[in-house]
Symmetry: C2
Subunit: 342 residues, 2 copies
């Protein structure tokens, strides 16, 4: 005889299992399982009895046991460089909101962008049996992180493709966003438009978009109008200083991210320049700080929330079996949000 024949005395408050419910309802565990899952039809009266027993006993299904049997944890892992970075926090929230309704939870890992941590966490969440992984960490660290090709867990890469079947991707359309921003400046009549880029090899799509727009507008961009920063406010400050000491100053500056744009804004203020009359500034990302500065920063929105949300949908479509096939790529628009600096 199995166990707990002493339903009489008060043992340590043992977890109430499906077997208890079955005993109470006078049916077999099988039947209880079936009324719970609805996978097989159960007579209405027994169904009632079972349901009653469940609520009387306060039964709660054990996810772990279920997981062991079904191999479904209903957990998605999300690997980001740093949850402390608002962009990734928002992305994570978008993901969580998207999959919550389907009963999925999210397991968050901050990798600090280090390959070894990426690998460690990747292994870890695999071992933990997550149903899918959203990989938003590392520019191209992907192939290093994953082992050989025997991958059976759906993976969604954010911000970067990854050549792997089963691996979907969602990426923001940096190029179009930048193009729109630059075109916007040109249309407004600015004639000497400069750009503060990111470090070499980074953010190339944003630069490409900028160049494309300039070409369409038939504006030549002299090399000295293309300077670089290191993504930081200070880097933007220095780059802007370089621009403003040029013999012919630019009358508009497109910055590859908001932090650098804020640095540029600092310079404008110091020089007593009026923004956007003397010089216009547009950033990229639409971080919180963009609305803190004065005037509020005109910028291009990096759709963090939507990226996370889309990643969630992609993962869900595979997990539900709704989609099975080659890796998809969805690209999301980066809309220009007009505020006070352009």
């Amino acid at each position: 005889m199995p166990r707990s024949e002493s339903t009489t005395a008060s043992a340590p408050p043992a977890r109430v299992t499906i077997a208890h419910v079955a005993r109470r309802a006078g049916v077999s565990p099988t039947t209880v399982s079936h009324v719970l899952s609805g996978k097989r039809v159960v007579g209405e009266t027994t169904r009632r009895t079972v349901l009653d027993a469940i609520s009387e006993l306060g039964y709660r299904p054990n996810h772990v046991a279920r997981h062991l049997r079904t191999r479904q944890s209903h957990v998605l892992a999300v690997l980001v460089p740093d949850i402390t970075n608002p962009f990734y926090a928002v992305l994570t929230r978008g993901l969580a909101d998207a999959v919550d309704a389907a009963g999925y939870g999210t397991f968050v890992c901050s990798t600090d962008g280090q390959h070894d941590r990426e690998r460690k966490f990747f292994q870890d969440v695999m071992d933990r049996g997550v149903d899918g992984i959203v990989f938003a960490s590392g520019e191209l660290a992907s192939e290093i992180t994953f082992g050989p090709g025997d991958l059976t867990t759906p993976i969604v890469c954010v911000g970067d493709h990854l050549d792997h079947p089963l691996c979907d991707a969602v990426i923001p359309d940096d190029e179009a966003g930048s193009r729109d921003a630059a075109a916007f400046l040109a249309e407004r009549g600015y004639a000497r438009i400069a750009m503060i880029q990111g470090p070499p090899r980074y953010g190339t799509a944003r630069t490409a978009g900028f160049r494309a727009a300039m070409q369409v507008a038939r504006q030549r961009v002299p090399p000295e109008m293309m300077v670089r920063g290191d993504w930081t406010r200070k880097g933007g400050y220095q780059a802007m200083q370089a621009l403003m000491t040029l013999p012919t100053r630019p009358d508009a500056v497109f910055c590859a991210n908001d932090l650098m744009a804020i640095g540029a804004l600092d310079v404008a203020h110091e020089l007593g320049l009026s923004v956007p009359d003397d010089v216009a500034i547009i950033g990229f990302d639409d971080v919180d700080a963009a609305t803190i500065v004065t005037p509020q920063l005109t910028t291009v929105r990096n759709p963090a929330y939507d990226l996370g949300s889309a990643a969630g949908d992609l993962a869900l479509s595979r997990l539900s079996g709704r989609y099975r096939g080659a890796g998809r790529t969805v690209v999301l628009p980066c809309p220009l949000v007009e505020r006070g600096t352009a």
Copy 2:
């Protein structure tokens, strides 16, 4: 005979289990388990053999099965109002860093501060079998959220106590932080110090700290110098306007949070007042935006990272069995960080 007698052909890449390892090493699963856990000593030579088999087969233990048996998931849940809020993101990171080394991962839930979501997520993570819960959501929602007292999972409340055995708490010393800030202003010679408080019934400790310092400094604070905002920048703006239209203006303002302080700063700028010479401003929280505004905001740090980290330590001490006893409360200091506005 159990299964997989066809180790010959290439089946779907079945998970390699402890049984495979055992077969390969010519021992029983028991022995493999023992070399893995070290709970019982095994002969050196067999140990070697087993270890070899493990690495040859690329065996990885199944956490789920282990969890089912041992009832330990090595996962901590953290319930926050919104992971998008940098304060909670940082707190979460502190927690994750603290427990990572011990092999614990973190499962994040954004409750939006709504009781029903709190309850839902609370149930959810309990059902998922997390080993502990860090509850950083809701000012006093606690007792509503948890069911009756039969709680066996360690809980750590952040920012609020909760009368429950097994329930630890970690709280920031708002009162001392506010006291220090106000005392700092008084020492600097400011003589008409005002305060922008939060809404009624909120942030009372910060108000108390302010009053205590004023008392020590023997400064009377007339009622019109104590105004209220709603935690937002706009609320701070309006409150500051009210203060500045007083017959005798304050020469220093302590704000119950940074956002309101930034709103106050806006007013000062509009009025052409020099900060901190004409009017000093101190905020509370030390959010990122505090270093964005000019001059940079002098404020009191709300130690988000440390709160999370401490919560992790508290949970760990119980999970490891190192501590078993009544609920503890650790209070963390909120240091004044001097910058440009005071």
